[in-house]
Amino acid sequence: MTRETEPHVLLDAAGVEETLAQLADGIVSGGSTHDLVLIGIRRRGVELAERLSVLVGDRVGGPVATGSLDITLYRDDFGQIGSMPLIGRTEIPVDVTGRRVVIVDDVLYTGRTIRAALNEISDFGRPSRIELCVLVDRGGRELPIQADYVGLSQLVADGEHVEVRVPEQDDEFCVRVVGADRTGIE
């Protein structure tokens, strides 16, 4: 299915747009939208959350609050990683207490990022409900965490890397699987 070094495209630009539209539909029908906050996880989740906020906003006829989360300080492997990534900003512009929060990330894999995000959001307040929306669920969970809204479920072998490329950072919009020898940093 996937050759060693040739990236295998799972979704092209049109495919990503269509998937995001379906995810937006899911979020709208999944619960109330007047108290909705979309929180993207740095880095790719932030761009996806911003796109989803526009799509959801179009469907409900009003703006949707968004925020961004950098989970570096909540990682469970601090001190084990060789070099630390530069910490990004966490910006949650509204009080999350009592609101419906949807965490947005690009790829769901081990679940450890989401564990960290849940802890961090809890330090900002007590949402009435927290849900998870991901563009790709690649399997391989190490924690009991599942997404509520999944764009694409695709089992990908360990050692392969699922890359979500967004125009803001990569000048293209697609989802692809990269072979072991070209694995980037998750």
Binding site: L73, Y74, G79, I81, M84, L86, R89, E120, F124
Partner: protein, 323 residues
């Protein structure tokens, strides 16, 4: 071998002398996201959870010790404060014995403030824990200079190319030394201004110019870092009187008004109002003294975070209790 996540930063932070601009910039950049944590309702992240940090203060300090303590607690570390009064230090224990005893209790980091130049390095060379210099004698006070630079960068948008004049007692000042090394590494021009008796001979060799008159310094500088005139210096005969000092070197609004630009005024505290700085300057729009205090916590969080991270081999050493 014991490299932290930032190039040029080793096990310890003893001083800014010899640090590259790139290293300093990385510390300042890391401080940026830490500012936000202090604005949260719950001002704590778990990144240093389970780390034990000892604040070893052999000299009186309020601001620096509290700032370090907030930084440590907001990163989730456990902290112990030891001051020279009320500890075994007064019973004659040597610095290295104090440190070895602390190590035996399995600590991870030490922040040390000491009256002797070189005390921080002395300690760092003898224990595997990370050591952060919180001010040693006349040598260095690196986190103070880092927070000064972060505040300058916030206010003026850059450090490279800035002209910064340090005013006051340069010869006894570790803050001055750390600022000179740090600012120069970051591409700023540094000058000093003060009474001849308080300017080190040969300071020009460090690439620092000397202004004998505060008026000329204000004319030249984008920012003034005004040091506290330690009152004991007067008894030692370095300055004739406080009134005299204020008349000749005091930073006043009348003097600042003649500057060709909005001079930014820093002060590491604690201030002697009406001596080195007038109250209307300290509380005026050109003063960044309170932002300095706020930034102090963020900068210290960044240093703690960077020194604590990514050194599994050191964690192994500490577990084995080697020294």
């Amino acid at each position: 071998m014991r490299e932290a996540g930032v190039p040029g930063l080793g096990k310890d932070l003893i001083g800014l002398e010899g640090l590259a601009g790139e290293t300093i910039r990385a510390i300042l950049d890391t401080a940026e996201p830490f500012k936000e944590i202090s604005e949260r309702q719950i001002k704590k992240v778990p990144v240093l959870r389970g780390k034990t940090i000892v604040n070893l203060f052999f000299e009186p300090s309020t601001r620096t010790r509290i700032s370090f303590e907030f930084a440590e607690k907001r990163l989730g570390a456990d902290t112990v404060n030891i001051s020279s009064s009320g500890s075994s230090v007064v019973k004659g224990e040597t610095l290295v014995d104090t440190a070895r005893n602390l190590e035996a209790m399995r600590i991870d980091m030490v922040v040390i403030r000491h009256g002797s130049s070189g005390a921080a390095k002395f300690l760092a060379d003898r224990i595997p824990s990370n050591v952060i210099n919180g001010g040693d004698g006349r040598h260095e006070h690196p986190t103070q200079a880092l927070l000064d630079m972060l505040t300058l960068r916030d206010r003026l948008g850059r450090i490279d190319g800035l002209r910064v004049c340090i005013v006051g007692d340069i010869v006894h000042s570790r803050v001055a030394r750390s600022n000179i090394f740090g600012l120069q590494a970051m591409g700023a021009e540094v000058a000093v201004c003060g009474p001849r008796s308080l300017i080190p001979l040969g300071i020009e060799a460090l690439g620092v110019s000397v202004f004998p008159h505060i008026e000329d310094a204000i004319e030249w500088a984008d920012a003034l870092n005004v040091l506290r005139l330690q009152l004991e210096r007067m008894d030692a005969g370095f300055v004739p009187s406080l009134r005299e000092y204020n008349r000749v070197f005091g930073v006043s609004n009348a003097r600042l008004a003649r500057a060709p630009r909005e001079t930014v005024v820093l002060h590491p505290g604690p201030m002697n109002r009406g001596v080195e700085i007038d109250s209307d300057v300290a509380d005026g729009p050109q003063s960044v003294i309170l932002p300095q205090v706020t930034n102090g916590v963020a900068v210290r969080m960044a240093v703690l975070y960077l020194l604590a991270g990514g050194r599994p081999e050191l964690a192994e050493d500490a577990k084995r209790g080697s020294s």
